[in-house]
Symmetry: C2
Subunit: 226 residues, 2 copies
DNA sequence: GCAAAAGTGTTCCTTTTACACCCATGC
DNA sequence: GCATGGGTGTAAAAGGAACACTTTTGC
């Protein structure tokens, strides 16, 4: 029996959050066959001398020009026939970033690269639809036991921005007062003396995250039911 | 640049539960280098024409002689140097079975195979210690949102057996009365008219799972905090 | 009658939810 | 003065934790 010829790839589901636009996902237009010209998740083959994590970072850089620090492993997809040419097992990663910090462009390995609102994604190549779906589900679950925000909001933000962020990711309304009560109990926010108006209505206080407490909490994993 | 030469393997962390003995894990003694003669998780290279799931099943069969139906993907380990010979990326699976139903023996591909109590495992080859640790953590977490029991207890069982099962997996004491109240609320048990004594003490009623309700609940994922 | 396990209920406390009114600003 | 968003508190309900006594059996 000959040695199996299986390739290993990585794919990245990078979600971008923007206060104005909500939740998006980063996609590339494929430059080569198969599925040439179609949209897909950024990703590609792992090299023999790089870790899986390094491979995702590299592919993201090569295809979209961005560098994302924190990606988490999502799931490994290895069904036969998921790539029409060869047997390819792909390890999918996902992450959530502040969209405004990432100016994506089609780097060398992609014909195009851009953010798509999660409500409005095109058909995807391979089984990437399935991967995206798994990532969305996982993202929501994850928020139940980890704070999110520091990486997604500006340094100073209004409480309503944070509120909006959670509503966006959960995809449903959350009572403003209860949310505030709960979030403040985590004791990871600092209220600033400044106030800011967004043009109409009463100006709101600005907040910032207490980095130390924030990461301490994140590390040990809080239980946070919204 | 030449094509990367990376192999894909699978490994299985099979936990066995036994009312008398508690929680064990299935290990094999390696028949070939590297780590020849050392204990390891069952597993091996994936073939080109089989799915990852099929590969785990096959390796389990070849090394330990057992067939496990329900394994879930745990995590993919792909660090450089985790196998001293080649670059090997391994997809780890885990599952929980009724130990008494699985008579393991060293099948063709292992020098030995047996259950080890989770409190008393030997040193393991490769990074299998790390994999085992990840599986243990995941198993506990999993019980919070899925019922367990049907697959692990006899058809008819005393409530104390179920209680004991949960205590074993969680590794701590759980109040008997509160546990009973909560579990009965799930409405997946049927109380039988039979009573059975285990030699001393008041005989207890026997219960069985209502299969339909059990799997319905399991499928949709309950939220079950012990 | 004593040791061992099974059966059962209540109280307290914490957490969650629902909900309404006033305040500061721009226009 | 009115529309808009920001700020705050309370009451009711649900859920979780702690806890003790009685019953049935074997010996």
């Amino acid at each position: 029996m000959s040695l199996p010829n299986i390739r290993v790839s990585v794919d990245a589901v990078v979600f971008g959050y923007d206060s104005g636009e909500g939740l998006s996902v980063l996609l590339i237009k494929r430059k080569v066959a198969p599925y040439k010209g179609e949209w897909a998740l950024p990703g590609g083959l792992v090299r023999e001398d790089e870790s899986l994590e390094a491979a995702v970072q590299r592919e993201l850089e090569e295809e979209t020009g961005i560098a994302v620090n924190y990606l988490e492993q999502l799931y490994t997809f290895g069904d036969l026939g998921r790539d029409p040419r060869n047997r390819v097992v792909t390890v999918a990663y996902y992450g959530l970033v502040r969209q405004s910090e990432f100016d994506v462009y089609a780097a060398t390995d992609a014909a195009d690269a851009k953010w798509f609102h999660t409500d409005d994604t095109p058909e995807l190549a391979f089984d990437h639809q399935q991967i995206l779906h798994a990532a969305t589900t996982r993202l929501r679950g994850k928020l139940s036991y980890e704070p999110v925000g520091f990486e997604l909001l500006d340094k100073k933000f209004r409480f309503s921005d944070l509120h909006q962020l959670y509503q966006t990711i959960y995809g449903r309304d959350i009572d403003r007062r209860n949310f505030k009560k709960k979030f403040l109990q985590l004791d990871i926010l600092q209220e600033l003396p400044e106030k800011v108006s967004e043009g109409r209505g009463r100006p709101g206080a600005l907040f910032k995250f207490d980095q130390k407490k924030y990461f301490a909490l994140k590390k040990k994993g809080m239980l946070f039911q919204i």
